[in-house]
């Protein structure tokens, strides 16, 4: 079931210094399924925060529609607030209030009959029970972020928007928060994660959209993006001993081998069609006496995919100018 949808969303802001409307989000469309963790990647100023605010109904789109369960967010207005949890880029807790006071204040707006129990449950779940009477200002950044996550879950929202959830956290705290996020998907909860942390997105997201200059550059799973961008035709083979030169030369002569790199016991090659050609390459190696230890279809990291896509859009834009 589709829970969240962007339909040709456009949001422009008035640039007073140049007296013109500047698009922050430029005709983007995508849909997110129930229970999915969807990553939204892009450099600073790409339009990530504007998109999340449009989807959460905080901005009215200039054109297009953001839909929640098929209904236009701009028309439904403030009513969607009870179904969404929104973690802002800054933790957003009140530093002069205690952990408990923060949860009590925020929880008070959702009309929960069992608020005290819910607070207790979340304090335990997020390891904050012992700190419940500590002022937030005295907590570490990691604990503040844990509290922020507990806060957005008070009303058990069906959709969670997380804007840069690990920004400014030390590596250990970031790992803790990521573990918590993956736990949050339980119960068909849809999670939309804005981030420019590629490692984070790769680890926790099912699908990724890459946005640059207000436009979606690519969308899909990391494997799909790899396939679309690099063709995913790279084969990596580990052999027991260094291959003889004649065997390497024989491989290079094969018509479907586009390129080959032999580095001691590691062979890396680009093939025309990996599904068809890989068994032939293995057969050729075996016949030549090579002892194969490992055959791997090379995958590119999200970082490589992201950098290639962003560079590609910049080049295209540069040519356009």
């Amino acid at each position: 079931m589709i829970t969240l949808e962007a339909e040709n969303l456009v949001k422009t802001f008035n640039d007073k210094s140049h007296k013109r409307e500047v698009p922050a989000v430029d005709d983007i469309s995508f849909s997110i399924n129930a229970g999915e963790i969807f990553g939204f990647l892009g450099p600073n100023g790409a339009g990530k925060t504007t998109t999340i605010r449009l989807l959460a109904g905080l901005y009215r789109p200039t054109s297009g529609r953001a839909k929640l369960y098929g209904q236009d967010v701009a028309i439904v207005g403030d009513r969607i607030r009870k179904d969404i949890g929104f973690l802002t880029e800054n933790h957003g807790n009140y530093e002069n209030l205690t952990v408990y006071e923060n949860l009590k204040f925020f929880g008070g707006f959702y009309g929960l009959s069992n608020l005290e129990n819910r607070i207790k449950q979340l304090l335990e779940e997020f390891g904050l029970s012992e700190r419940q009477y500590t002022r937030v200002g005295k907590l570490s950044k990691g604990l503040k972020q844990r509290l922020a996550l507990a806060r957005v879950l008070l009303h058990d929202p069906k959709i969670l928007f997380l804007d840069e959830p690990t920004a400014g956290l030390d590596p250990q705290a970031a790992v803790e928060v990521r573990v918590l996020i993956t736990r949050l998907r339980l119960g068909e909860r849809t999670i939309f994660v804005n981030s420019h942390n590629l490692e984070e997105v790769q680890k926790i997201c099912d699908r990724v959209a890459i946005i640059n200059a207000g436009k979606i550059v690519q969308i899909g799973t990391a494997a799909q993006l790899d396939n679309d961008l690099f063709g995913a035709q790279e084969l990596s083979i580990q052999v027991k001993e260094t291959l003889p030169a004649n065997l390497v030369a024989e491989l290079q002569r094969l018509t479907y081998v586009k390129s080959l790199q032999a580095n001691h016991t590691r062979l890396t090659m680009h093939l025309v069609d990996i599904d068809v050609n890989a068994p032939d390459v293995i057969e050729c190696l075996t016949k030549g006496g090579a002892k194969i230890l490992e055959v791997q279809r090379a995958r590119h990291s999200l970082e490589e995919i992201y950098l290639a896509l962003i560079a590609d859009t910049r080049n295209t834009a540069g040519r356009g100018e």
Partner: protein, 272 residues
Amino acid sequence: MKPMYRMENPSKRGVVKGIFKFNNAWKIFVKDWKEMRHNRQLFWSVLLFPLIIAIGLPLMMMGTFIADGIPATEIYEIFKVEIGSMMKLQFMLIPVIVCAMIAGDSLAGEKERKTAETLIVLPVTAKELFIGKVLAALIPALLYAVIGFAIMGILSNLLVLEPILAGNPPIIFADLSFWVIAFLLSPIFVLVMVQVVVAISARLSTAKSAQQVSMIFAIPIFGVMFISFTGPGIISDVGILLGLSAILLGIALVLANFGSRAINKERFIATL
């Protein structure tokens, strides 16, 4: 399960408007009050001014009179007239200063402390947010004025205790205009002021700039003080005070209805 959003109250623009819930506004007031109590810098800077006026002024006057060698019975007579007159202005000035500090900090302070977006995503309407912030500045301002009044009244009587013990009546504020100012004009004036300042605070990005702008409201008070000391005693004319209160009440009611329009959520978060 797929939630359905009822559409019984669509506005002209097609957006479903929320129903005003006073309870939500009250929660915002309680939160702000707790925050202010824990925010030592704001708490003491807000408390300092009423304390200086309520304690410092009578002591200063007393010190001057003693230094000038004025006898106790004469000091008692001067206190009876002067403190009463001063109290009227104190009842205007203390809430204005307190209000300027708290109301200026209200929404602009949320932006500065990076909690504004968290607040705006809550299921609260702009009106609930506006009224909550108005209460958060209005109630402490009036409370401080009443506390200041009590402290100043007790202290003034203690300072002239000798003539009182000798049979003179305690210093009370028998003048009707004092009570009109204290419990009618002052709260209404502050109500007008706080609504304007909260609206200004929604548009500005720092509490300091909002507080500076709101100090404009102190100008008419100083104007009245100047006129009272140099010319006709307009602050003693009950008719004028009642008329002024009625006009300000009208303005306050209009602002209560339309002031929340200053909190346009989209514009508000766009300035973060």
